[in-house]
């Protein structure tokens, strides 16, 4: 049975945990809530009247989707190799994948400019193909991909690793090649996890600012538009735009939450 001093310690610990959680939640939630309360109504009204905002939202959504689709195509096989331990130098590959998450995003933009800008051989070749990365949606998508693809590969690797490898082994004894077994068995079993990883990547991609602004100020994605209106017209002008962005950010959040509940898929 608990003695009185033990009960007192328990109460104190509980109070500290609740207080710490409350402080963190207020720090995270209050600014966003305040933004929506102050600018939400005007922001939604602005969606109907502000053509530049609508164009910016469409550009952000399209470039974010393009970056995500390209990463899913290129990154899923890599995630499979990493999850199944079938890659030599996996440690080095993982470090390369984590690098964009660690470097400041304007620095990422500068690195991209160096590698794919007008002065570089790759940039020259891309320009010949009509794919200049400065001042174009191509550059925006590239910047989004650079900073957010590691989130997809990491999430996809975890989703694939959760699928017992013996499903693939059985499929192979039934005649499938390694690739076919991964496609027919692992892909559908890891499907929800892969989708969740893609949603996380997309949400991160469309909120990117630092790397994009180095490559492409115009046309403006919504993060650049918000910054532009804040520096040009002040807080009052940017509030409705920022509130709209917060409201729209709830969409991937809701999708993600609904997926998380259904990610486990396999034999009990």
């Amino acid at each position: 049975m608990n003695t009185t001093p033990e009960r007192g310690h328990y109460r104190m610990a509980t109070t500290l945990v609740v207080a710490a959680s409350f402080v963190l939640l207020v720090l995270l939630g209050a600014p966003v809530l305040l933004l929506v309360v102050r600018g939400g109504g005007a922001g939604l009204a602005l969606l109907g009247s502000d053509a530049e905002l609508r164009r910016s939202l469409a550009l952000t959504g399209l470039t974010g989707t393009a970056a995500t689709v390209l990463t899913v195509v290129l990154g899923t096989p890599l995630a499979w190799l990493l999850a199944r331990g079938r890659m030599r130098g996996a440690g080095v590959v993982s470090a390369v994948l984590d690098l964009p998450l660690l470097i400041p995003h304007p620095v990422a933009g500068i690195a991209l400019l160096l590698a794919f800008g007008r002065g570089s051989p790759a940039g020259g070749a891309l320009e010949q193909l009509g794919l200049a990365i400065t001042g174009s949606p191509v550059g925006i998508a590239l910047a989004m991909l650079f900073v957010s693809a590691p989130l997809y590969v990491s999430g996809a690797r975890e989703a694939i690793a959760r699928v017992d490898e013996r499903y693939e082994s059985v499929a192979r004894t039934l005649g499938d090649s390694a690739f076919r077994a991964a496609w027919r068995v692992t892909r559908p079993l890891a499907g929800r996890g892969l989708l969740a990883a893609a949603v996380v990547m997309w949400a991160r991609a469309v909120s990117e600012f630092g790397a994009i602004v180095v490559l492409t100020y115009n046309p403006k994605v919504v993060s650049v538009l918000s910054y532009d209106r804040f520096t040009s017209y002040g807080l009052g002008a940017v509030l409705p735009v920022a509130a709209v962005l917060v409201i729209l950010a709830l969409v991937p959040l809701v999708v993600l939450r609904s997926l998380k509940g259904h990610i486990a898929y396999g034999e009990p």
Binding site: A171, T173, D176, L189, E267
Partner: protein, 202 residues
């Protein structure tokens, strides 16, 4: 025929060491031994799921040590079944079958046809084993590797499934290597191998 010569393989920190055995064509071999003896590792190495670090695997008299599982023409049934949960029971049974009619027939013989409208997730452990067995046999393998395939079945069902499997074994003439803890099942086997700590001890 299944033949392994001085086979070595690793599974994490566990090592299969210098295992040799022969199960003649059309015979039924049994592997026994305590948990952690390396029985599943042996089956997986024969199947090509796990790479041999040394030694040779011969199936039908042909060395297959370097071949991937899909080129070894064998079936494996795990204790847990590993049915594909995103597919129906019928799709599981027919997964690798070249002859759909034969797959249906095999499913019927083992009673898997009665489970066709059930979701895989709703099957009991024993039902999973039956469907997994039918799935492996539906591809008409020359070699069948069984990792305690009857462990989740009750006594009556176990006898029926085993009887049906023996009948199919006589008809089709495939070679069987079965891992079991059940000494009664090991009694009638043509070849019996006992493993302990990754080595053959009897």
């Amino acid at each position: 025929m299944i033949e392994v010569r001085s086979l070595c393989a690793r599974a994490g920190s566990f090592a299969l060491r210098d295992v040799s055995l022969v199960v003649p064509a059309g015979q039924w071999g049994v592997v026994t031994g305590p948990a952690g003896a390396g029985k599943t590792t042996l089956l997986e190495t024969i199947a090509g799921i796990r790479a041999a670090t040394r030694g040779i695997v011969l199936l039908r008299g042909v060395p297959v040590t370097e071949l991937p599982p899909e080129q070894r023409r064998l079936g494996i049934v795990y204790q847990r079944g590993f049915l594909f949960p995103h597919l129906s029971v019928a799709a599981n049974v027919g997964y690798g079958a070249a002859d759909a009619a034969y797959a249906v027939e095999v499913g019927r013989r083992f009673g898997a046809d009665l489970l066709h409208d059930r979701r895989v997730a709703a099957l009991s452990g024993g039902e999973r084993q039956i469907v997994a067995l039918a799935r492996a046999l539906a591809t008409r393998p020359d070699i069948l590797l069984l990792d305690e395939p009857f462990s989740a079945l009750d006594q009556a069902r176990r006898a029926r499934v085993r009887e049906e499997l023996c009948a199919l074994h006589r008809e089709e003439g495939f070679t069987v290597l079965q891992v079991t803890h059940d000494l009664a099942e090991a009694e009638g086997a043509g070849v019996r191998v006992e493993l302990e700590e990754g080595r053959v001890v009897g």
